[in-house]
């Protein structure tokens, strides 16, 4: 059964320095509160996995939490670059960052393969792309039945998955609504999982085919209202698109970024 913990304890208990951590949420339900707690606890040498690193990993990379990033699209959606990610890749600030990049299709397949307990994912992908030349985790195999050449990549099996969801009931069952992304897959693919939720309720109000993670498939649940801001939680609050635009100016400069981090992360405790 999932253990209910304050966010601070969940992060300190289940995320260790050097872990492989996948914090997912495809534009929607990005676990920012958990990311900020990881920054506050000064976790180091993490291998971070996320299809779209987004602002949450830009902040964690700039804060020095990451040694490696596995991703498939590293921009600020609709705005431009992730400047902290770029500074780490281009200039090694605040530390050198190793990167391994995929396409979205490959990563989605790799999460699904991880959830399915398989060692690899197979897809009709990477045809003609240079990505296999720079990522040794992309191989090609021959279909044993048709002979078709297909791409193969290792499944993703993180030490820890972190996601945000709308709500949990008191037994620890979790409901995810809207753009469900790869939330279910990453939790099932990981050894341990932390789920932050907007609220804990008596009844989930889930329809019969809803995306529900049962309590026994989750390690820890922490209540974190507004825990996905400035991304959004369908039914609770909208995406703060203006902040995503403002982030460009904040993150462009190391000092402005550090100032922002101090005021908005270090000097604020976990909810």
């Amino acid at each position: 059964m999932a253990e209910f913990l304050p966010l601070k304890e969940a992060v300190s208990k289940y995320i260790n320095n050097g872990d492989t951590v996948a914090m997912e949420g495809f534009t929607h339900l990005i676990p920012f509160a958990a990311g900020h707690e990881i920054i506050r606890q000064e976790k180091r040498d993490l291998t971070l996995i996320r299809m779209t690193p987004d602002l949450v990993y830009d902040q964690m990379i700039g804060a020095g939490c990451a040694k490696k990033l596995i991703f498939s699209w590293g921009g600020n959606p609709g705005v431009g670059s992730l400047h902290r990610l770029r500074d780490a890749v281009e200039k090694g600030w605040p530390n050198k960052l190793e990167i391994l990049e995929h396409s979205h299709a490959a990563m989605a397949n790799a999460y699904e393969a991880g959830a399915a307990g398989l060692p690899l994912a197979v897809l009709r992908g990477y045809v003609g792309s240079d990505l296999p030349k720079v990522n040794d985790q992309i191989k090609f195999i021959e279909c044993p039945f048709t002979g078709e050449r297909l791409a193969a990549i290792p499944s993703i099996r993180p030490d820890v998955a972190v996601i945000h969801a709308q709500r949990a009931d008191r037994k620890g069952n979790v409901l995810i609504e809207g753009i469900v992304g790869i939330q279910k897959e990453v939790v099932l693919a990981a050894r341990r999982s932390i789920v932050t939720v907007e609220e804990i309720v008596d009844d989930l109000g889930a329809s019969v085919n809803a995306c529900v993670l049962p309590s026994w498939a989750i390690t820890a649940i922490a209540e974190a209202p507004q825990g996905a801001k400035p991304s959004y939680a369908l039914g609770y609050y909208d995406r703060d698109n203006a902040f995503y635009k403002d982030w460009d100016g904040i993150a462009r400069d190391r000092e402005t970024f550090q100032e922002w981090l101090k005021e908005n992360v270090f000097e604020k405790g976990a909810a």
Binding site: W73, G75, L82, H104, A105, G128, V134, E148, G181, E185
Partner: protein, 262 residues
């Protein structure tokens, strides 16, 4: 009386016209999204728009800033998981057109959204592939829309993130289960199409008031022009009005969200 319009408007309107009612379009964010929604709000009300966030048959009232804005989900017929999106709907063969933007494009319509310079020591690091590498091969055909400049239109891209026709124009030859690839590139100056034999991009239509010289100067290789060079029809009053309304709604929407400290 002729209407006044900008080069960007000309590009969006022309890109929108490439879509028809019967298409199922996998839409990239930015210019493709603007064009696809303009098509839906004008001549192609029944065009099916799909975004990689899993939103199937979506009808946003404002253009999304990100690929997964709430607007896309709330106006969609249904929303599926991201693995389902890429496996069943894209790889499964249900997408007729992939509509993509890019940072760099070369003469064989290969796209680079990864980096400028050397991979291990990039001069400029760009966001990366996202959904494009598989959209470009699993969709039945690909439309590309991008602003025309020498920085963007290069002879050979620094990195093939997403294949057009490969470094030699032959990357799709004899590959089973692959789409036709790019069939049209729409810029703010002209329309380009791949030569049926060599697959090299050729200018087939110039936008109004654009000269051959304008295109030559904005292209990083010796660009060829079709023998039957056409002039792209100018935007209609209706197209311009719908586009301007859409952009005004979008700007107001994205500025209004309360920003500030998290």
């Amino acid at each position: 009386m002729s209407l006044e319009f900008t080069a960007s408007e000309m590009m969006s309107v022309t890109a929108a016209r490439a879509l028809t009612n019967d298409m199922t379009c996998f839409v990239g964010i930015g210019l493709p999204s603007e064009a696809a929604n303009l098509a839906r709000l004008t001549h192609a009300p029944d065009v099916t728009l799909i975004y990689e966030s899993g939103t199937l048959q979506t009808k946003p009232d404002v253009l999304p800033l990100s690929i997964g804005d709430g607007e896309l989900c709330e106006s969609a017929l249904t929303t599926v998981s991201v693995p389902e999106m890429f496996r069943y709907w894209l790889q499964g063969g249900h997408i007729s057109v992939g509509f993509l933007g890019t940072a760099q494009i070369d003469r064989y319509a290969n796209l680079n959204t990864t980096l400028i310079g050397d991979y291990r020591e990039p001069r400029i690091r760009l966001p990366g592939g996202g959904g494009a590498p598989e959209i470009a091969t699993n969709a039945k055909e690909v439309f590309i829309t991008v602003k025309h400049s020498r920085r963007t239109f290069v002879k050979d891209v620094d990195f093939v993130t997403t294949v057009g026709f490969g470094r030699d124009g032959k990357a799709r030859d004899k590959v089973p289960n692959i789409g036709r690839g790019p069939t049209v590139v729409i810029t703010d100056l002209c329309i380009l199409k791949p030569d049926p034999e060599t697959k090299e991009l050729v200018v087939t239509s110039l936008h109004p008031n654009v000269t051959r010289q304008d295109v030559i100067e904005a292209t990083g290789w010796e660009i060829r022009f079709a023998d039957q060079l056409e002039t792209t029809p100018a935007p209609t009053a209706e197209e311009l009005e719908v586009l301007r309304d859409l952009k005004a709604r979008t700007n107001a929407h994205h500025a209004s969200t309360q920003s500030g400290q998290q």
